[in-house]
Symmetry: D2
Subunit: 240 residues, 4 copies
């Protein structure tokens, strides 16, 4: 069955910074949408400045997996929309949070922590080591992914311990980071993936594209039980 | 070093229901405070109707472990106080959430999920099986704790998978529940413990008292590193 | 791609006990093979009394997922064959261990514990509650699976804490059991599933069949990296 | 209560290599025993060439925590002794496995995997980042521990995902390693700690000493329930 992905992007750097526009002429969302389409997915994009940030009920209800990229305008995302996305995740929609999305309202709300970290922007080398080679998100990847120039994010990364830790990053400047982290919240699967930046062309890297594509497959909803919550007046057994 | 515990109680059933007052003449908080004092801890109590719900900065700042019991008035807990408690937990204060506290604002915020579950109130038997016999919270407990009459809480319990699952409950009416669950959020340790009710005298049970006492020891802050977050302009290495 | 499953069965009860033969005329392995074939898988069977227990190199090398059922003859399984299966699992072959297979040499070796538990055989009712409704192994299942007559297995079940706990069983006689447990060992995925018995017709239950089928999909190998182990004389960087 | 620690060392490098003898005149075990004694513990040492490798029943039965260092003679450790240590761990004895002990028989048996990894010995810099600042093993440690010259161990480290990941190492040469890993097996707690080498004076580093001391406190047995295993003929309830 075709997976329906919505790629959400703050899309602000692209509007104000010619350097970013040059690298991502159709926006970061456009670049991500392109490779997910090539992988056979049904892809929409949505951005902050659209009505309802492009995340109408209609769009959200048909979205299997939401990809989230934000950086300088996390506070401008309306609490009402965050609330809707939150409940869709708990109801089973997958969520892939990229790079600076670690500080987005939606990720912090789902994690229950500050999601704070160390960072440095000198274009240093990053090497993402595969920690769990049998995880579906690592399919088709080698022992590590090397990125010649990235922004550093380092530990302590204030997140709950991931249910599965798929990648750990090494940075030339001396730090490490849990950079591929799987979570379940309600019926929704969440993957945080560290790489991605507005001026380094990370999202054109074929291995990074492969990871995000794998993650969309992994995070797509499963038709499991619809839990029955609330008052159950009669015992299932006649034993009490 | 003496552990400083604050026992917080909504304290509403005690005011309106003579049956509850009879069982807990000094409130649920009073009963819990008594056995924690007997265990050598330095114990305060705080309740909803006090100014700032009894959780002033002064009290919170000296509290090592906060015990939380609420039921019918979760919504009356001010968001500002929840915010303060939340940040204290992330900074290292332990939190023990009892029974109906699963639906408290503070627990839901730290979990990132609805914390919903099934429930039934027919006074059925519960048996809490020890799943991890080597966990400090299980110290001094037998293979299981039996409670002759309890309110049932059953799965699906909408929480993130616990980091350690210490107890699983069996209910005569046919359900099971992950009833002793450990989490870390920021530098704070959290223990959710299912038993406890306003009209069943659960908090006088010696084994239940032992578990809560053990949990206070386990959740007390550790003098670990104070993570340095934010911009680290210079690399630790001269290698990039 | 078609998943290649080998169903291994001790096949001793079937030879000596007419009651078992009546329920499983083609052996437990035959019954399991049937529904996996119906699900489109490529299925072999293998049994203890065949040469090399039916697990020749040729068979093992082409097996994506091995299903294991044993009970009274665990000790007769040759250490050499266990060793081969062990290394195939570490290399990526999935393993589904059913019921009394908890005491098999292969499961104990992969777990590193005794895998001991409590048990009782009075044909009592079991109810398997779904704990993680979004896990692929729970696809198509309701809030719980009910089995009218089963052998009881109860906690403390001496296993490492599962990476994912998919099912917890309730038993009428008063116990609980972690009855659907996911593990990773090396590149291999392992699922322990509690139900299944030689005289209760568990493997004809459609929901049990669905769980085992789902587990075979989940446990099938992923084409992740082939880790490079051993001596790496030269640094990846020129920095030391 | 005083914790009784036994420090086990292969003690072969010390006998054949003058450089090692110079650094560790009383053996690696002697250096480790010294700082644990200073921390108030009751400490024995035991070595490979003693009768029963120094691990008699008398010694093992009174040991709360066993520290293990081995490197070139893992195969010479008798299977019978490994079996005894294994069962003592399952019964509650703590185990701290240091550095090259990752390849010891006892650690591999408890993990159920090969415990293989990458390694390089050029004396490069290692930095151990604290991942869980609230874990008792991180008490008194800063954001990271820096070792100027170490042997590198890198991912993929073929272990089961740790229950708690306390440290991740960065190496100047380009690798990362999960270098502080907590496990439970049976009633025993296990801590694998990567640093330590026969010619780099790692065990004189005060922070490394602090981590090992903390780990001994953490791994000491808890007086939890003694699980009852086996046949339980009568139901706990009269309901079946």
């Amino acid at each position: 069955m075709t997976i329906c992905v919505t790629v959400w992007n703050e899309n602000r750097h692209e509007k104000t910074n010619p350097e970013v526009r040059k690298i991502y002429p159709n926006g970061i969302h456009g670049a991500i949408a392109d490779f997910l389409k090539d992988a056979g997915m049904d892809v929409n994009t949505a951005t902050l400045d659209e009505p309802e940030h492009g995340l109408t009920d209609e769009i959200l209800n048909k979205t299997d997996v939401l990809v989230w990229w934000g950086h300088i305008a996390h506070r401008e995302v309306s609490d009402g929309i965050v609330d809707k996305v939150y409940h869709r995740v708990l109801d089973g929609m997958g969520l892939i949070v990229l790079h600076s999305g670690h500080f987005s309202k939606i990720f912090r709300r789902l994690m229950g922590t500050t999601c704070n970290l160390r960072w440095r922007e000198i274009g240093e080398k990053e090497r993402l080591w595969v920690i769990e080679p049998s995880h579906p998100i690592a399919e088709g990847i080698g022992n590590y992914i090397e990125l010649p120039n990235t922004e550093m994010y380092g530990e302590r990364f204030d997140i709950p311990a991931p249910e599965t830790l798929v990648f750990v990053s090494w940075f030339a400047g001396g730090e490490v980071c849990r950079s591929g982290c799987c979570y379940t919240r309600g019926k929704g699967k969440i993957f945080y993936f560290r790489p991605g930046h507005e001026t380094f062309p990370i999202f054109y890297n074929k291995e990074i594209q492969r990871v995000i594509t794998n993650a969309a497959h992994w995070a797509a909803p499963v038709e499991g039980p619809l839990p029955r919550f609330g008052h159950i007046p009669k015992p299932l057994e006649d034993v009490s």
